[in-house]
């Protein structure tokens, strides 16, 4: 768990005895002001499975897109099997023996498996010979690697797991020696994921090199030989999987920042404001995102939800905020001030939630919190634009909204203090202040606040934290979701840790440690409430005899 390991990444940290399949030297890539990749060094030895782990937005996918010719790096060098090459487009990547399985499959849905496999790799201008050869080759590959799939079925008729097999087959058909998989298990059932891992192990044994991009620690521990950790565009560590622990990786992923002390008195919790009972959510892809979650938030306390992003926190906030993703199935019970909230139907929308006293600062302020091209004063009223104080009959009262906006800008120290400026033209911190001002000043009984300080400068962080504590001291309830462990620990009165759609445990931030939370965030069984931990439980320990049961209950998993 030593933080010194943080900087030991780089080309020298991998064993030199085996020739390296991939070597990246000083790769940098910026999109405008955002540095997506900063001086990345990475060495992947031949015939190994190499995990790249990091949170959403850490730059993993950008790096792999560079390797597959989608983006040109601003600087740096790529060496494949020791030879420096320029990967100008996907064709160059394919020629260099790189195959990529994207998170969102690049398949033509109304084509057959065979047609998808030969697309772009045809033998000549006529299809018939190509199809015949592909059919034979497919049979060989299927036997070799457990990759059975009916070549004449169209993609539409295949399950997601089989579609992924087609993507892998596509790469193998093009004789890829290096296979990159981007978040491959995100859409798979546990049984499908287990099968995928068997396939990957088989491929490695055949001498293929595999890069596995994921933010799931358990997958890394289960299948990889080496692992590199990315955080905020930088490669912060490269280690052998056998020599690391999930908690160390979790800590590396989340990062340890300068501890921001928040000045607050002990909480004086009152009556329960929000009661969540056995909330479940299955998304449109039939993946269970929230698995029977229950918790309470009382008046006058801040409850923090810690976790590596992508473990159901976003979905939880969206359900409570009244805009779950389309096609999701939601069940369970949520009480607000003792009265049930509609989870489905017309009365489950964000406007009704606001009427019930729930304020929401969404995780993604640019897409969900603001309309970027609208002026600050307009953004200040969104969601409450029907409120009587903003209206004059059927018209909006522009003067009233403007006056209110000017007040909020002043009280929240939004800079520049110009209500006519489009939201886009404020810095991230000031954009967040606009959203927080809008929600906090409505004085909600419950404030949902997701990633309140992502991309926000230190000064604004302090300010926003202070406002959250003030709201709490006024006897309101706050649900804080953040991937910043320090923020959770310093701001919350109670910490819940979410992993894989479940709440792994509750901790008191005064007595717990980052290491203990990291363990829970890595999905290691809660040692207090259940039987003694038996080391790390594997990523998908569902019995394989439930292959079509993506909705297993937490009991099955512990």
């Amino acid at each position: 768990m030593s933080a010194d390991k943080t900087q030991q990444g780089g080309p020298d940290s991998a064993p030199q005895s085996v020739p390296s399949a991939i070597q990246l030297v000083g790769i940098s890539k910026a999109f405008g002001p955002v540095q997506a990749n900063k001086d990345i060094n990475l060495t992947v030895p031949k015939g190994t499975i190499h995990g790249i782990i990091g949170e959403n937005g850490a730059g993993k996918s950008t790096l792999m897109s560079i390797l597959y010719g989608f983006y040109k790096p601003d600087s740096g060098e790529i060496r494949i099997n020791g030879t420096p090459i320029q990967i100008t487009d996907s064709m160059a990547a394919i020629r260099a023996g790189i195959g990529m399985v994207f998170q969102h499959f690049k398949l033509v849905r109304n084509f057959t498996v065979l047609e998808n496999i030969i697309l772009g790799a045809e033998d000549g201008p006529m299809l018939r010979p190509s199809l015949a050869r592909a059919r034979t080759r497919l049979r060989e590959l299927a036997e070799e690697y457990e990759l059975q799939v009916d070549p004449d079925e169209t993609i539409d008729e295949l399950s997601v797991g089989h579609q992924q097999r087609v993507e892998i087959l596509k790469a193998l058909y093009r004789q890829a020696d290096i296979l990159i998989l981007d978040e491959p298990t995100g859409v798979l059932t546990p049984a499908e994921a287990d099968h995928l891992f068997r396939i990957l192990n088989g491929l490695r044994d055949e001498g293929k090199t595999i890069i596995l991009i994921t933010h799931k620690l358990r997958e890394i521990m289960e299948i990889t030989d080496n692992v590199s950790v990315m955080r905020r565009g930088e490669m912060v560590a490269s280690v052998k999987t056998a020599e690391t622990t999930p908690e160390e990786l979790a800590e590396l992923m989340v990062g340890r920042k300068v501890l921001l002390e928040v000045d607050k008195t002990p909480a004086q919790p009152g009556k329960p404001i929000l009661e969540v009972r056995e909330l479940r959510m299955i998304d449109a892809d039939k993946v269970e995102r929230i698995r029977s979650v229950s918790f309470d938030i009382r008046a006058g306390e801040v409850v923090g939800i810690a976790g590596v992003s992508g473990n159901g926190q976003t979905q939880l906030l969206e359900i409570l905020g009244g805009f779950p993703e389309k096609g999701a199935k939601i069940s369970g019970e949520v009480l607000m001030n003792g009265q049930p909230l509609d989870l489905t139907g017309r009365k489950s929308d964000a406007a009704t939630r606001r009427q019930r006293g729930i304020g929401h600062v969404p995780e993604d302020r640019q897409d969900e919190g603001l309309i970027m091209d609208f002026a600050a004063w307009e953004n200040v009223s969104f969601g409450y634009h029907n409120a009587p104080e903003y209206s004059k009959g059927i018209f909006i009262d522009r003067a009233a909204i403007r006056a209110d906006a000017e007040g909020k800008i002043q009280r929240f120290d939004v800079r520049p203090p110009n209500p006519d400026l489009a939201a886009r033209n404020f810095s991230g911190g000031n954009q967040q202040k606009i959203v927080v001002a809008r929600e906090v000043e409505r004085n909600p009984d419950l404030l949902l606040i997701g990633q309140p300080t992502r991309g926000v400068d230190i000064g604004a962080i302090e300010f926003i934290h202070k406002r959250i504590v003030e709201l709490r001291d006024a006897g309101k309830a706050v649900l804080l979701v953040s991937v910043e462990l320090d923020e959770i620990m310093s701001l919350s009165d109670r910490v819940l840790v979410m992993f894989d759609g479940m709440i792994m445990g509750e901790r008191d931030p005064e007595t717990t440690t980052a290491g203990e939370l990291g363990l829970l965030m890595a999905g290691v069984t809660d040692t207090e409430n259940t039987s003694p931990a038996e080391g790390i439980t594997p990523a998908h320990n569902h019995p394989a005899d439930h292959p079509d049961e993506p909705t297993a209950t937490p009991e099955d998993r512990v």
Binding site: S65, A93, G120, L127
Partner: protein, 350 residues
């Protein structure tokens, strides 16, 4: 209605469906590649104008045909630049092309011939001879006077008599079908009909076709396979331009004898409706355009259809193809699934 009338109506249908079929196949290539094209109308119109103009100036319909194809290709290129290269809105680009063609043809026609936007009638005559004389002299210098005379006295496409057409004419049933219906059309009619199996074969049996269909369904799949989306879509748009060129040239130099203002009369839009009706398939396009051709032929034959006590007015008969278009576009005729990536400019993303 006797047998001969039916043959005559069908014969007329074949002539009338030809420009629709060519335009429909043109749209098929473009849309199967993911580029929606409501500029078929404009391209046909431009082709009709350039074909008629060059045919009138040179007296040579083959040069006219080439000019028609070039005129249409030029507009295709504009559409390609706007909607593929610059990722503009394909509908707006198409509308712009329609307006451009509608205005430009009349303007240029008036400038060149001074006939109020028309081109001269494409029948060998004194007026035409005067213009074509220098061309005739140039040709006879190369091919000799006989060949030059043949070439320059063909200002429009004439009917081709297939072998044995006259001999078989008197054989019952088969005779009239062969002599009237199958024989006796201009070359472009046969080209159009041959385009149907050719298109089917190209789409379903060749590498180009596979990629073309893929790029209209999921361009990312083509891109990640290392194939250029831009190049494929431009190829499709170019084929669309060539076929529209044939359609327009046929209108002005085959079906009619010269260009008149807005002579396409919405055929580009009818072809689009037929394309939807055909569910973006070549053989379907044949059937759908035949239906439209038949309606037009019936309307021409029976301006005032008398059904017992009721007489259906000619306006209604003439409006039939358009009414059918509305019905098809309103989705009454089955569910048609357009190419998934249709209308969307391709932007690379992870």
């Amino acid at each position: 209605m006797d047998f001969n009338t039916i043959i005559q109506i069908l014969d007329s249908s074949v002539r009338l469906m030809t420009p629709l079929l060519l335009a429909c196949l043109a749209g098929l290539y473009s849309e199967r590649a993911g580029v929606f094209d409501i500029g078929l109308e404009g391209k046909m119109l431009m082709a009709a104008f350039t074909a008629a103009t060059v045919a009138a100036l040179t007296g040579n319909v083959w040069l006219g045909l080439c000019a028609g194809i070039l005129g249409s290709l030029m507009l295709s290129l504009i559409h390609g630049l706007a909607s593929i290269t610059f990722r503009g809105n394909q509908l707006i680009s198409g509308v712009a092309i329609n307006f451009l063609a509608s205005g430009l043809t009349v303007l240029l026609g008036q400038k060149i011939f001074g006939l109020g936007g028309r081109t001269p009638n494409l029948t060998p005559g004194a007026e035409l001879q005067a213009i074509t004389t220098p061309f005739h002299d140039w040709l006879s210098g190369i091919f000799g006077p006989d060949m030059a005379a043949t070439l320059t006295t063909m200002p429009r496409f004439t009917e081709i008599r297939l072998p044995f057409a006259e001999a078989l004419r008197d054989v019952p049933v088969i005779g009239p079908i062969y002599a009237e219906l199958i024989s006796g059309h201009s070359i472009l009619v046969y080209v159009a009909f041959l385009c149907v199996p050719a298109t089917w074969w190209l789409l379903n049996r060749t590498r180009f076709g596979l990629r073309l269909r893929a790029v209209g369904e999921n361009p990312a799949s083509v891109d990640t396979a290392g194939v250029s989306v831009t190049r494929l879509r431009f190829a499709a748009v170019a084929i669309c331009g060539v076929l529209c060129g044939l359609a327009g040239a046929y209108l002005a130099t085959g079906l009619a004898a010269g260009f008149v203002k807005d002579m396409t009369a919405g055929r580009g839009f009818i072809a689009l409706a037929a394309l939807i009706f055909a569910k973006w398939r070549p053989w379907g396009a044949l059937g759908a355009t035949f239906l439209f051709g038949l309606l037009e032929a019936v309307a021409n034959r029976y301006p005032n259809l008398e059904l017992g006590p009721i007489t259906i007015p000619s306006m209604f008969m003439n409006a039939l193809p358009y009414i059918l278009t509305v019905i098809i576009l309103a989705g009454f005729v089955g569910r048609a699934i357009p190419p998934r990536a249709g209308g969307e400019p391709y932007v690379k993303e992870r």
